[in-house]
């Protein structure tokens, strides 16, 4: 039997432990449970969760009340470069980026907590998609192909490692993906014949754990280079597979030095995240000669396909095709265009398009649909689980592609010119590829898609209008003119019982919510 002083001591120790542990829990976010099942007051990775569906269970904002959506706050970076990152929300702080810059902003007030600025180095400053986070660390890629680890509390540098050699032509821009004890980073670079890769590093030190190479080393005879890992992949914790899209081959417009399919360029690959071993691959664009990366989000959906439950992977690809795969083995379930395509001879037994040699770039030009920017590009699509709709911002388009021997076999090796294009949001029935509804945007928009359980589709047009659409028919329910170009994908979360939508346009971050009662 305990005496009262010992009882008091134990109570005090318990209280101390609780106080310490809750403090340290805050400092240790996001952890694996949070990444696997993000609570509604978080957005702990580029896609929000590991599925890439960018679909929220939040229902406070509805088709009925969205017309009252109002500005809660905005944050101005005072930079001219348009924001391309998806912000992360962890413990009430939003973390977002531009090339060489990371901001931490209070998600309640929009006020800056800290700002990290990397000395302007070499490498293309074309864009930065955001950070990855794990247990109080922020992971950030720079144009000069370094990975920086910052403290989430104050933005101080913990470590820095080189991911690739910027002087060879590599640069980095993607948002790292954290899976277990691995920070997964990818590379960019199309102007040189470079080998693409995905690398896993240790979150504590940045040391390389494994590297998967998408293409052979430069200079391998009759082999391709390229296959850059431009964008962030997705993860299935039950199958323990990461899914990643790879970029186009190099030389870009001239395939003569790289006969065959050019594996693993323009591919969707399934890798074991602990070893980097390739488990399966599927190729949206075999022997590509049009710069059509297959790096769009590999969206993971569990549902019925023609009456049978399936673990699926869906991609609306640059080349104009919508793919549905069985993500356990990479087998094709559906391959169908989601806009005009004129470059293929159809689809083979594997569900892969067959490129038409007559539509490869030529000295006197070839008319190609879609254009080089593709039927869609980096802007995220969304899968609405309630309505079974895959929603994507599409760009039906036409262009002319040229390549002649004088253009050489290094880097771009030719030229392409846009002729005409438009912009339209399409809601695709994933089981058939039929387009259930469309929303005309007038011209190509850079805004990604977010959907919610309450039946809203959030995106933007080409004129800077943020849009809320009815997910059943695509009709506009709310809009706000932002005054600049939208080049990012929206996020949503609930904080203090209030649902926020966060979007960006130009160098400004906007937070929207229903008026406080």
């Amino acid at each position: 039997m305990m005496n009262s002083s010992r009882h008091a001591f134990l109570l005090a120790m318990s209280a101390l432990l609780v106080a310490l542990s809750s403090g340290s829990l805050l400092a240790q976010a996001p952890d694996d449970p949070m990444l696997l099942r993000p609570p509604v007051d978080s957005w702990p990775g580029y896609h929000g969760d590991y599925s890439g569906r960018r679909h929220s269970s939040l229902t406070q904002i509805t088709p009925q009340n969205v017309k009252s959506l109002t500005l809660a706050w905005s944050f101005q970076t005072n930079q001219t470069i348009p924001l391309k990152s998806s912000p992360l929300l962890v413990d009430g702080i939003l973390y977002f980026t531009a090339p060489d810059n990371v901001w931490a902003v209070d998600a309640r007030s929009g006020h800056q907590v800290w700002h990290f600025s990397y000395p302007r180095g070499e490498g293309e400053h074309i864009g930065q998609r955001g950070v990855g986070m794990y247990k109080g660390s922020v992971f950030f890629l720079t144009p000069d192909a370094h990975l920086i680890c910052l403290s989430a509390k104050d933005g101080m540098v913990r470590w820095k490692v080189e991911i690739a050699d910027v002087s060879k032509g590599y640069w980095t821009s993607m948002a790292p993906l954290v899976v277990g004890n691995h920070v997964l980073v990818g590379v960019s670079g199309d102007f040189d014949n470079l080998s693409g890769f995905l690398r896993a590093v240790d979150p504590e030190t940045g040391a390389t754990e494994w590297q998967w190479n998408s293409t052979p080393p430069a200079g391998s005879p009759n082999q391709t280079t390229g296959g850059m890992t431009w964008m962030t992949g997705t993860y299935d914790p039950d199958l323990n597979l990461v899914y990643w899209g790879t970029g186009n081959p190099t030389p870009v417009l001239n395939g003569s030095t790289r006969p065959g399919d050019d594996l693993y360029t323009c591919s969707i690959v399934a890798l074991n995240p602990d070893t980097g071993k390739l488990v399966w691959s599927f190729q949206p664009s075999p022997h590509d000669t049009h710069d059509w990366d297959a790096v769009e989000t590999p969206v993971l959906v569990d549902g019925d396909f023609h009456g049978k439950p399936q673990k699926m992977l869906m991609q609306s690809s640059r080349n104009g095709y919508f793919f549905v795969l069985d993500r356990s083995n990479g087998k094709s379930l559906l391959t169908v265009p989601f806009g005009p395509v004129n470059w293929s001879l159809g689809v083979d037994k594997k569900g892969q398009p067959i490129p038409n040699p007559a539509k490869e770039p030529a000295p006197d030009g070839r008319l190609i649909a879609p254009d080089e920017g593709g039927m869609t590009n980096y802007r995220s699509p969304s899968f609405d689980t309630k309505r079974g709709l895959f929603i994507v911002s599409a760009h039906p388009s036409w262009s002319v592609y040229f390549s002649k021997p004088a253009d050489g076999t290094y880097g771009w090796s030719g030229a392409d010119y846009d002729v005409w294009g438009t912009g339209v949001i399409e809601a695709i029935d994933y089981q058939t590829g039929k387009i259930r509804w469309t929303h005309d945007l007038g011209s190509e928009s850079g805004a990604g898609i977010l959907t919610t359980d309450s039946g809203l589709t959030f995106s933007g047009d080409a004129h800077g209008n943020f849009l809320a659409l009815d997910s059943t028919d695509g009709k506009t329910l709310w809009h706000a003119g932002s005054g600049s170009h939208i080049t990012s994908s929206p996020i949503t979360y609930q904080l203090d019982g209030r649902q926020y939508l966060v979007t960006s346009s130009g160098g400004v971050l906007f937070a929207w919510a229903l008026p406080e009662s």
């Binding site: 001219t80 470069i81 348009p82 302007r120 070499e122 490498g123 293309e124 400053h125 074309i126 144009p143 032509g169 199309d190 102007f191 710069d291 005009p340 004129n342 007559a358 030529a362 000295p363 006197d364 030009g365 070839r366 008319l367 649909a369 080089e372 920017g373 036409w398 002319v400 040229f402 002649k404 004088a406 253009d407 050489g408 880097g411 771009w412 090796s413 030719g414 030229a415 010119y417 846009d418 002729v419 005409w420 007038g442 047009d461 004129h463 209008n465 506009t476 809009h479 003119g481 170009h485």
Partner: protein, 274 residues
């Protein structure tokens, strides 16, 4: 003696005037279209190597994704070494404003850069243009000579028949002399889709009054025109009815119908309309 003196001064004046003329026109005027003629032996302006190098670094950071690291064109952006604007630029007087203002209608953002940074970019771009035409060959981009694989007679047949061009166009009317106005790739791009063509719009107000003009702006929420007095007028789309007239959109219908041979033949035919 007087005659000789006069003659001497006349000759001297002619030589002087010729020298001035040569200095003011160091290169032949560029042809319309994308191709730039190689410069004659008169030296192009050379820039200090350090300025060109710092321009090269800044160019890679800001410009190379679209324009290529060597300025010969990358993703979406044109080959600057073939640019008429670059050829006509004097110490950044034309290049500078493009960098500072961007080209929003063509998708180029603006860049807020110091005078020194702009000067370094200007030096690099000029150095690249000079290097390209001094080297000769090996250029990326499209020469008019690349586009001569068609047959003009077949092109005329297509123009008057299956292409449907004759419904709106006439070789002796609106297209007379078209090949003098546009050459090479520019002609082909205009032929496929005339991106500069303006649409007309007629707006019907609730009162029944109609206002017509050139379409100035349209999104889901706002429609605007410039009227016959060049005045800009706009309305909330929900308050009015409007009808847009874009005859150039007939070109879009044709994309899926063309063969590449049709396009080359049409080009051959249009190039006869000098």
């Amino acid at each position: 003696m007087r005659f000789l003196q006069t003659s001497f001064w006349l000759v001297a004046m002619c030589v002087f005037l010729l020298a001035v003329a040569a200095a003011q026109n160091p290169v032949p005027s560029p042809q319309p279209g994308n191709q730039v003629q190689p410069a004659p032996a008169v030296a192009d302006k050379t820039y200090p190597p350090e300025l060109v190098q710092s321009g090269a670094t800044l160019f890679r950071q800001d410009c190379s994704f679209c324009h290529g690291r060597d300025a010969t064109g990358g993703e979406t952006g044109p080959d600057l070494t073939r640019s008429r604007l670059v050829r006509a630029d004097v110490e950044g007087d034309k290049i500078g404003p493009v960098i500072r203002n961007g080209r929003p209608d063509k998708g180029m953002p603006l860049f807020d850069r110091s005078d020194q940074q702009i000067a370094s970019l200007v030096a690099f771009i000029h150095a690249q243009q000079n290097a390209q035409h001094n080297r000769g060959g090996g250029r990326k981009g499209v020469d008019p000579s690349d586009l001569q694989t068609g047959n003009a007679e077949a092109g005329k047949k297509y123009f008057d028949g299956a292409g449907g061009c004759a419904h709106c166009h006439s070789a002796t009317g609106d297209l007379a002399g078209i090949a003098s106005r546009y050459k090479g790739l520019e002609l082909e791009q205009q032929m496929l889709y005339p991106r500069h063509a303006k649409s007309k719009v007629t707006v019907t107000l609730p009162s029944g009054e109609t206002v017509s003009g050139t379409l100035a702006y349209r999104d889901e929420f706002t429609v605007a025109l410039t009227d016959s007095s060049d005045t800009y007028r706009s309305w909330r789309a929900r308050d009015v009815q409007y009808k847009v007239d874009s005859p150039q959109d007939a070109h879009v219908e044709q994309f899926s119908k063309y063969t590449d041979a049709d396009i080359h033949n049409l080009m051959a035919y249009l190039q006869t309309l000098q």
